[in-house]
Symmetry: C2
């Protein structure tokens, strides 16, 4: 397919590279910032532009990878080209696209991307939705060219996926950072914690998280929890996080046991 990429951020960068590597042609890369457009365009052999009103019509698909708030306004501007338009957002529903175009779909990669970190796109779950079976099929086929994990996902499910991703990715990354901060304050390196983080993530590759929960909360080890809260005396809001998550673990553990 001939594909126009609208956006030049982390998602746009990884998706356009994956599509190009799969043999598709990226014809243009748009960004408000021409320098950013040019950088990405160079890597995928495309033309760069910062003018949304002068895009080439010599394309089959616009992939919109801009900030969530900008997705629908961007679609409003692209509809006049009469081409298939898909966005890559976890948070934006299909419905609001339909005010502007009937050639609408979603091409959402459920992954965390950084421009400077390579990853194997074939392992990225691609969540597809289309306004019609034909559009769904087109986007699904395109997704299969770049990933082994292609799912048909409704707007409602996609919102839940995105929410679950916030818990499992954004919040966990924040907790890694809290760990790093605690170690630094006591003169220790985050390197000490890295093997534990790797193993914690590795454990659930074939297991259910609640079945491999460890630590003082799940053992209801009150002495250790009290000692930890004492250590956090100077950081009352880390104390609050500690209490809340520990209570959740205890509650959850009791419910799971009660169900047996």
């Amino acid at each position: 397919m001939r594909i126009t990429i609208v956006g030049s951020g982390n998602v746009a960068t990884h998706i356009s590279a994956a599509l190009k590597n799969a043999g598709h042609r990226i014809v243009q890369v748009y960004s408000r910032n021409l320098h950013n457009a040019a950088l990405l365009a160079y890597h995928v052999g495309a033309e760069a532009t910062d003018d949304l009103n002068a895009l080439t019509i010599n394309t089959d698909l616009f992939i919109i990878s801009v900030k969530d708030d900008a997705v629908v306004p961007t679609i409003a501007q692209l509809a006049k080209y009469g081409k298939l338009i898909a966005h890559t957002s976890g948070a934006v529903e299909l419905l609001p696209m339909l005010q502007f175009t009937q050639q609408a779909g979603v091409f959402y990669p459920l992954q965390t991307f950084s421009k400077t970190k390579e990853l194997n796109f074939r392992e990225v779950p691609m969540c597809i939705e289309g306004v019609s079976e034909a559009i769904t099929k087109t986007l699904e086929d395109l997704a299969r060219d770049i990933s082994n994990k292609v799912y048909r996902i409704s707007s409602q499910q996609r919102k839940v996926l995105h929410l679950a991703a916030v818990f499992a990715c954004n919040f966990t990354n924040h907790l890694y950072g809290v760990g790093e901060g605690l170690l630094k304050d006591s003169g220790m390196s985050f390197d000490m914690l890295r093997p534990l983080i790797a193993e914690t993530a590795d454990k659930i590759k074939e297991r259910s998280p609640f079945k491999v929960q460890t630590g003082p909360a799940v053992r209801n080890d009150e002495t250790t929890m009290a000692a930890h809260l004492q250590l956090l005396e100077q950081q009352p809001h880390l104390q609050d996080v500690y209490k809340m998550l520990s209570q959740d673990i205890i509650k959850n553990h009791n419910e799971v046991n009660g169900d047996r």
Copy 2:
């Protein structure tokens, strides 16, 4: 060394296997539950016992790997053998051991263990503390036989490490489970989230977590956060976790930016 293992749980299982594989001899495995002692003893070619008062004196070191609350009472019972005693707990200080013995040390592996999951012990950070330089050195040498990552860590630092591990391992695992629950409730499989979890952990292998934070909170994307809280309407206590961690991420991001 000839080593007696006191305990038969996850830590005792992995440490005794690593020590045996490094050429040390496990002479006895003690557990209150003789069946559990026998299971582990069988795997490491040791004798099993459930009698703490009739252990062999033909040993150089007792490694105590029992529940945190039981560590000091167990040391009280073992002191009479006049051998070196080390415990494997993140939470128990060296000081209370000294009421009972002067041959005291700590041999703490900073990792999450499951009996049924293999791991590369050479990557497990070993945190060593001893009452004297000689004891510290003995335990350090032993640790080097099984791990490439050996650290001298004080009791105070070890408590902080353990606390940081609760944030970076136990709490993150709980959040994985929250993600799984949200997906299940909407008819989706946890498999969809597994690549994201793997990548989130992979990202910080060479990066600092706060520098790679992604998601709606760090972007201060209020629309998406409001939509997520709406989705959690029926689970008010997940709403509380969402709000608290999002506020922490925003606060932290502002502080980091303020420092620049």
